[in-house]
């Protein structure tokens, strides 16, 4: 029986020639579409021909290098013997840094340490731009995965996307020779201003009678209820639920000197808090609604926590920093269909330790 494979094989045997670069590239890149005999023909030849095996290895590595993936392969090779030890991968363009920890033979945790600066402004776009991060290949026996999008990551059994960590914000100030010192001083100065502002706000709120209630609520909110869902307007023993409805609070605040006078005005305290949280390495990434967007009820709040089974306290606050909704949630999203009056609202996720994420939205 003569066919093109036997003819090719015969030629190689009789002439001592080698597989062409194109044939090897076909074997590497279109392996899945080769027939059994085609695969067998090449693998048999590679077994007996040292030069072709060497060519195969060189082309394989070179393709990865030219495709900007070689460092990822070497990363996974580094991970082979390391369990529970994080190895950092920096993308070829240095814009993205991913920390990868091998949990077991086939399980990896990925944690994004930094992302391109433009993404800092577009957190809601993280889902789309996740593809930017990873030309990550998982070498698992003969299987090779190329991750193009976050969806791909989610669909991979051998991967678990643990956390998308916000990149650090670099202060946009001029950098003279002693740039580091200036930056540090700037931070101290900014911190001092924030503390002073907070003190002024606390002073004014404590001077006004109803302000005290807000302060108390705010403090108790940090410790939070331990279970179930609670909403403003319900009456029970939980101090959080003794808060007045948002509309009522806002109406009262309108009368108070030194406080926010408009339901759409930003709350300086919360705005500063939000800036501080979002400029650090937060453990929770807000996916939607994007910070500062208009929403309509029902609205789905979506975020990515740093791990599985993370219980967080979800709260919606008025621009007076008054809770109008709260709930304990163990997951990545929560859909709310509560009637909220037009205005600016903040929403935050709190763990037992601290505020993990803070966003804001408008109801028009």
């Amino acid at each position: 029986m003569e066919n093109f494979l036997s003819e090719y094989s015969k030629f190689l045997d009789e002439t001592n020639h080698h597989l062409s670069l194109q044939t090897i590239a076909t074997y590497i890149n279109l392996y899945d579409s080769l027939s059994d005999k085609e695969k067998l023909f090449i693998s048999n030849h590679l077994e007996v021909c040292k030069e072709c095996t060497e060519s195969f290895n060189l082309i394989f590595d070179e393709d990865l290098e030219l495709d900007g993936m070689k460092n990822v392969i070497s990363l996974f090779r580094q991970l082979e013997d390391k369990e529970d030890e994080a190895v950092t991968f920096r993308s070829a363009d240095s814009l993205v840094e991913v920390e990868i920890t091998r949990l077991s033979k086939n399980d990896f945790n990925l944690r994004f340490v930094s992302l391109p600066s433009r993404l800092k402004q577009e957190r809601a776009a993280l889902k789309v731009n996740a593809k930017y991060i990873l030309r990550v290949l998982a070498m698992d026996m003969e299987t090779m995965f190329i991750i193009h999008s976050e969806e791909d990551i989610m669909n991979l059994d051998s991967f678990e996307l643990v956390s998308l960590t916000a990149p650090p914000v670099i202060p946009e100030i001029s950098k003279p020779a002693e740039g580091v010192k200036v930056n540090k001083n700037f931070r101290y100065f900014a911190a001092a201003i924030i503390i002073a502002l907070a003190a002024v706000v606390i002073y004014f709120t404590s001077k006004s009678g109803t302000g005290l209630q807000n302060e108390t609520v705010s403090t108790q909110t940090e410790t939070g209820p331990t279970s179930g869902e609670s909403q403003v307007g319900k009456s029970n023993t939980n101090p959080l639920n003794q808060t007045e409805p948002a509309e009522q609070n806002i109406a009262e605040k309108k009368q108070q000197p030194g406080n926010v006078s408009d339901v759409f005005s930003p709350n300086a305290d919360l705005e500063n808090h939000m800036k501080m949280i979002n400029s650090g390495n937060t453990r929770v990434i807000i996916i939607s609604p994007a910070v500062g967007t208009d929403v309509r009820m029902p609205v789905t709040f979506e975020w990515i926590p740093w791990g599985k089974n993370i219980t967080l306290k979800f709260e919606i606050l008025s621009n007076q920093n008054s809770p109008v909704y709260n709930s304990l949630i163990n997951g990545r999203e929560l859909t709310i269909d509560t009637k909220l009056d037009p205005g600016l609202y903040y929403w935050k996720l709190t763990s037992s330790d601290s505020t993990e994420a803070l966003g804001k939205f408008f109801i028009r």
């Binding site: 093109f4 670069l21 090897i24 076909t26 279109l30 027939s35 060519s55």
Partner: protein
């Protein structure tokens, strides 16, 4: 979005690959694939756009990039074979347009120049041709190659229907020897 925009325009993954490949093997490729990168890119684009993916490939990007890499190797193969005396000068470092440094060109072991055997040509062309086929058609063709389908395919499963007819047309168009297949073709 067409193939050109998705894989051949600036800053796409395909463009970057081609650019790095060309920079690395420019000394060879200028002889056969154009003296400018644009010529090289256009040539690859011309070849790839003619493939016309069947549309049932799960990962289109992997297919296009795979085909691109194969085309690159094919051009390099031809370049090496046409100028066997050419040797690459080693450079300390090659920097791509995007600032990525690329290692020295692969100089050894390269295949010796030789006449392209028909078997090799058929193998390479058939496998690029498979990109045009739907999965069922690919499996069918692979069964033919593996000789799992014998003459009993005649009748309702005759090769006069797709993909067999298309495949024979392809072989004829490309002036390839299709003797291996002709016994499966009822009209031969």
């Amino acid at each position: 979005m067409d193939i050109n925009e998705k894989y051949f325009s600036n800053n796409t993954r395909g463009y970057k690959f081609l650019n790095r490949f060309y920079l690395k093997y420019r000394e060879f490729l200028t002889k056969t694939a154009g003296s400018e990168f644009e010529d090289f890119r256009n040539r690859i684009f011309f070849n790839i756009s003619g493939i016309k993916l069947s549309g049932d490939w799960i990962n289109e990007e992997a297919c296009i990039l795979g085909a691109m890499k194969i085309e690159c190797r094919m051009l390099l193969d031809k370049a090496i074979k046409s100028k066997p005396e050419t040797r690459l000068h080693k450079s300390d470092q090659i920097i791509g347009e995007d600032g990525i440094s690329i290692s020295e060109p692969l100089t050894t072991p390269l295949p010796q120049p030789h006449e392209i055997p028909e078997g090799e040509e058929v193998f390479n062309m058939i496998n690029l041709y498979k990109l045009r086929l739907k999965k069922g058609e690919r499996d069918f063709l692979n069964n033919i190659i593996d000789e799992k389908i014998k003459t009993e395919i005649g009748g309702t499963g005759s090769m006069s229907v797709n993909p067999g007819e298309r495949f024979f047309s392809f072989l004829r168009e490309n002036k390839l020897n299709y003797k291996m297949f002709k016994k499966y073709h009822k009209s031969e």
